[in-house]
């Protein structure tokens, strides 16, 4: 039975595409067959984050309009045998696809893949409706900032209205130094406000920028964000992976012992 996951946020620039790329890659690394669909027609970016931009011939709109066969628009990943990308059209707009057409497309993909991951565009218009139409699970990405959380709340309401039963939260770009100083909301604060289950916490990590520059998702690599994304994948696979305690009081002792336990902590983001 395949699972259809939409990665959404409302606000732009919070990390939907990065999350989609890393979760898709991580699940493929675990041996699952995964297709990543870029639902951001007109402003595609999942292809560059995956480093597959030079291999695009056909796209999602070509499949829907019957210009090509489904298989022709699926780009095989460079490293993972079970990972494919269906790019969005760049020179079209969101209104050239309907939610019904998306549902049909996803139904066709369900027979071939364990996971279908949709990278949703920002906003709540047609593009959002298209991306959520065929999904049965939503990952809401937010950062611990007022604007992103407000939009996330609105998106959660719309997902519920679209009868998406399973809605999980990923808190992205958490700055632990700011949290400690009381200048950033904690993960608990965000959960308190949004009231949906937590799937993962991704710390702000410069390695994400480096990975995007290189077009290689960092999931599973030796960095905080890479570990965090890998843990998200493990949780999606039903494994019980504990969250890191960000609220810990920082004393000299925890700092010193933390140096030795750094690897252990990275396991638990």
């Amino acid at each position: 039975m395949s699972e259809v996951i939409v990665v959404t946020s409302g606000k732009g620039g919070v990390g939907k595409t990065t999350t989609s790329a890393n979760v898709g890659t991580g699940l493929a690394e675990m041996g699952k067959s995964v297709v990543l669909i870029d639902a951001d027609i007109g402003l595609r970016n999942l292809d560059v984050v995956m480093g597959l931009e030079n291999r695009i011939v056909y796209n999602l709109v070509d499949v829907i309009e019957g210009t090509c066969r489904l298989k022709q628009a699926l780009i095989k990943d460079k490293r993972h045998a079970g990972l494919f990308l269906m790019p969005a059209a760049q020179t079209r707009d969101k209104n050239c696809v309907t939610p019904e057409q998306m549902v049909k497309l996803i139904d066709n993909l369900k027979t071939q893949f364990d996971y279908i991951i949709l990278d949703c565009p920002a906003g709540i218009e047609q593009g959002f409706q298209n991306a959520v139409a065929g999904a049965d699970h939503a990952i809401v990405v937010t950062t611990p900032e007022v604007s992103a959380i407000r939009d996330a709340d609105r998106i959660i309401g719309l997902l519920e209205a679209n009868e998406i039963k399973k809605i999980d939260l990923v808190v992205n770009r958490l700055r632990q130094d700011l949290v400690r100083r009381g200048e950033m909301m904690t993960v608990e604060d965000v959960l308190d406000i949004l009231g949906i289950p937590l799937l993962g916490v991704v710390p702000d990590d410069e390695n994400v920028v480096i990975a995007t520059n290189q077009g290689e998702p960092l999931v599973g690599k030796n960095s905080l964000a890479g570990q965090a994304f890998y843990n998200i994948c493990r949780r999606l696979e039903g494994k019980d992976v504990p969250f890191m305690d960000f609220n810990k009081n920082i004393t000299i002792w925890t700092k010193v012992s933390g140096l030795f336990r750094k690897n252990l902590q990275e396991e638990r983001v």
């Binding site: 007022v146 709340d153 949290v179 009381g182 200048e183 909301m185 604060d189």
Partner: protein, 89 residues
């Protein structure tokens, strides 16, 4: 800034949380325009029994700025602005 106010200063984390909580109340209760129209018509009907009002320029809106606090939580407030043309009694 006095020394006292330094200690009293809320962390920006707390400010953000408090602002969001109030903001989301009004975001969440925003009824559909159709529902607001129905509520408006019902209110107009009831008030019209007792006085002559200007139904075309009356306005209603749900807002959080009423400072109505119950059990420590800010509750939204329904505002109605109803111009009275003539008090019947």
């Amino acid at each position: 800034m006095s020394l006292f106010s330094i200690f009293k200063r809320k962390s920006s984390r707390q400010v953000a949380k408090d602002r969001l909580k109030i903001l989301l109340i009004s975001d969440r209760v925003n009824c559909s325009p159709e529902m607001m129209e129905l509520i408006k018509n019902d209110i107009a009907q009831v008030i019209s029994k007792y006085m002559k009002i200007d139904t075309t320029s009356m306005e209603i809106q749900i807002s959080k700025t009423g400072n109505s606090v119950r059990n420590g939580k800010v509750t939204p407030v329904l505002y109605a602005n109803i111009p009275i043309l003539d008090l019947k009694n």
